[in-house]
Symmetry: C2
Subunit: 481 residues, 2 copies
């Protein structure tokens, strides 16, 4: 419910961008931001600004923003030091700049009076000049569709996840790791000290943004509590909102001030508000990614009966324990299902249970496909969980041929059914030589293929069960409204 | 406190082993167990037994155990079906066999009367013949020192971790994954239905075993509750005992019966007994590995002041939150430390905090080594946590050169200090093409180097903090006794 969605949205569709403080020093923001735009194929014109250089990364450099031979420059990335920002804003006005992204930091987050005063002065000037400020002390915008990026080698394809992060580093790492899980992004915005553009404004924006289906956020603190609650309430009825709230402990509360000059606030209040407004809270970056994977890959689910398949006895028992501990139930096979099983596998129909211990099915890690399809279709289950485990004793060639083939076959069989499915594939701590080992490369290939089938992959039963718990909580909340 | 440690220990030092039901079918136990012994360099003589074959995997095959041209065969791996075991025991007696490992299953774990009666009959006969039984329905022994193995490609080097697992599949996977974290094993024993050799006996054995410094177990149920409690009490004062108790939920309780015919028992009782006797309980295989890593790599720690280093603001805040949520405290830098910092880094001495937000240190992901050493040596910290994160914005070459070098440098600097240190290196979900990407290969190489320095590596702040919490709990418990 931004007053003017289109006007705000236009800030992120610049026809031209200048990097003020662009540099050839490979360790600097000025170098890296220039390269991000080039490497990610920014669709507008790129103007490095540096009075000491003629050229940066093959682009002509300008001594001052005012020297750029266009009458307007839409978007400025500021890599200059804090004391030069006020003058920069004057230059921006001359070029009719709409948005200044202040990578520039060392302001109020230092906790020092002088820097805090300067930050307030920057806000005042920007407002008076009609320029919007993103940051300061932030990494800015990753918007693959238009070629804006805040890091190297992020996916160039777009996807449904939008994000706003007070930690620019956290945002970059999040995109990188989530991308390996098959997640793609509409846009992710790092907003640092939230001097002008706040979390509230971004939350409203993503709530209305048609490119965004799932909202993920890393929030240290909010200065406009009531506004933020309104924004949460507005957003969460429209799409899932997942928040990693940082600064929960004593040290964290102090550190968020040193980081983005934020006041962490009380976790009791955060929990109560989140519960009331259907917001999904997570506790760390891994959980944030797991939660985004769940919301991105799965259709709404409001029931908690799980069928667990794959893995021998030990792995199955522990999976069952973990899913139950996260509030799911593991229904017994119904009489109807057992009767059908009796026809197909008379030697084990009475022995097998949910979780399906695949060692009971003897000759295959995943039960024969027809069997799997039959059980998976049974009424008593709402969600199917397939695990690719290593708890068999087969050698290289069998593993690569049989196990992987069966697992992919099982995945496909389930995909064709009517139930949502998730997959658990554990991740090894591997290096080049491990990767050349048959087992690991087979696992890695399988993971990619499962993801490409649109089935979410989690790195452990616990991570899957925790993410699904909150996922179902959200859809139950939506259903009740 | 085994009545006769040496006699029991001798069971696992066979001079010869026969695989009865050896096979050339690559999917069979008979094939794979033969190959495990060959590939892991079993130090004794290997005798495949199969009446239909002359040779298996290059070894002469015998029609019957009795045909083996040695008067004694110490160790028999049974891969025949259950109804042939009684006759096998007679044959074993003729060859003076000490231990029969029954890979053979489909006995009491089926829940069927006939199979359960047969299992009881097997026990009776073995006892009357003076033969010990491992299993049935188990994978047997991995003992790298003597070349016994229950899976392919497990480490050939020995180490300090001993284990007993009711899940043979779980045991194999555990060894494989833990090995990637630098863990090595004295011996790991899969004991399935625990018909003769029980968890209690194995626990006493590992408690007395000089090759074992840390005990890890996967337990579904115990039939001799009082004996097991005595064994726990005996073992945990001697060395850390970590138990993954399986069958905690309703489905799990039923499944452990289908798996090893175990009665899961009440988790309230398990928790109370574990607390009283200083046993570390974990909830899944990942936690089991994390816990073993902590106990294997770290000296005893009884205090909970943590210094967290590495990562920018966001990652640092969340690490701090997570460690505090696991009961650690994150002491502020003392006045003394700040005074020293003021000399070295006057521009940030007042700004920086614990966790050390490395983005405040500007030009390096890990603070300069001299600085790190100085802070790490401060009295207010008991444990140092170094994180290798990806939340910077540097390109390929810088990352490989600078970041990795600084991280390894930091690790070395800390290793030379007087404080225990742990490292957090997150694991990506990667395939071959990702691995060829600079960042991932650099991470993987770094992980291996850090481990080789004797510093434990965890895959996330949460896994590190959870493992360390229980680790410190144990040493505090030991100290109080």
């Amino acid at each position: 419910m931004l007053d003017d969605f289109d006007k705000f949205d236009a800030l992120f569709h610049p026809g031209s961008a200048a990097i003020v403080g662009a540099s050839s020093n490979i360790m600097s923001g000025g170098y890296n931001f220039t390269r991000f735009l080039i490497d990610h194929g920014f669709k507008g014109r790129i103007y490095p600004v540096n009075p000491k250089l003629d050229e940066i990364l093959g682009l002509k450099a300008y001594a001052n923003l005012r020297d750029i031979p266009e009458s307007e420059v839409d978007y400025v990335i500021s890599c200059v030091s804090a004391e030069r920002v006020l003058q920069l804003l004057e230059d921006c006005k001359a070029k009719n700049v709409k948005l200044v992204h202040l990578f520039t930091g060392i302001l109020s987050e230092t906790g020092r009076k002088k820097e805090t005063r300067l930050e307030r002065e920057i806000l005042r000037k920007a407002k008076s000049l009609g320029i919007r400020i993103l940051g300061p002390n932030c990494m800015g915008v990753y918007y693959p569709k238009v070629g804006l990026s805040f890091n190297h080698d992020l996916p160039k394809e777009a996807g449904p996840v939008g994000g706003f992060f007070q930690s620019g580093g956290g945002a970059g790492e999040f995109v990188r790791y989530a991308a390996l899980r098959g997640v793609r992004f509409s846009k992710v915005i790092s907003y640092g000290n939230a001097l002008d553009i706040t979390g509230s404004e971004l939350l409203y924006y993503f709530a209305d943004d048609p490119e965004t289906k799932v909202i993920a956020a890393y929030v240290e603190g909010v200065k406009d509590g009531r506004e933020f609650i309104c924004a949460l309430s507005y957003a969460a009825v429209r799409k899932p909102v997942i928040i990693l709230k940082a600064g929960r402990g004593e040290a964290g509360k102090k550190l968020v001030f040193s980081h983005t000059a934020s006041m962490a606030g009380s976790m009791e209040i955060w929990r109560a508000i989140s519960k009331q407004h259907g917001v999904t809270l997570v506790g760390n970056f891994q959980e944030l990614i797991d939660q985004v994977v769940a919301f991105t890959f799965l259709p709404p689910i409001t029931r908690r009966g799980v069928l667990i398949v794959g893995g021998g006895g030990g792995k199955s028992v522990i999976s069952g324990d973990v899913w139950e501990e996260e509030g799911f139930h593991i229904p017994e096979l119904s009489l109807k299902t057992r009767k059908e099983l009796k026809k197909e596998v008379p030697e084990i129909w009475d022995w097998v249970r949910n979780p399906l211990d695949s060692s009971i099915f003897q000759k295959s890690l995943v039960p024969p496909l027809s069997l799997l399809k039959m059980v998976a279709a049974a009424q008593e289950f709402d969600v199917l969980v397939l695990g690719l485990t290593q708890d068999d004793f087969y050698p290289t060639d069998i593993w690569r041929e049989t196990i992987v083939r069966d697992f992919l076959g099982g995945t496909m069989a389930i995909k064709d059914g009517s139930k949502p499915a998730v997959s658990v594939i554990e991740t090894g701590e591997i290096d080049f030589s491990d990767m050349q080992n048959w087992r690991w490369s087979a696992i890695a290939e399988t993971r990619k293929q499962v993801i490409s089938q649109g089935i979410p992959v989690f790195p452990s039963p616990v991570s899957a069960a925790k993410a699904l718990r909150k996922f179902v909580d959200y859809w139950v909340w939506r259903e009740r409204r």
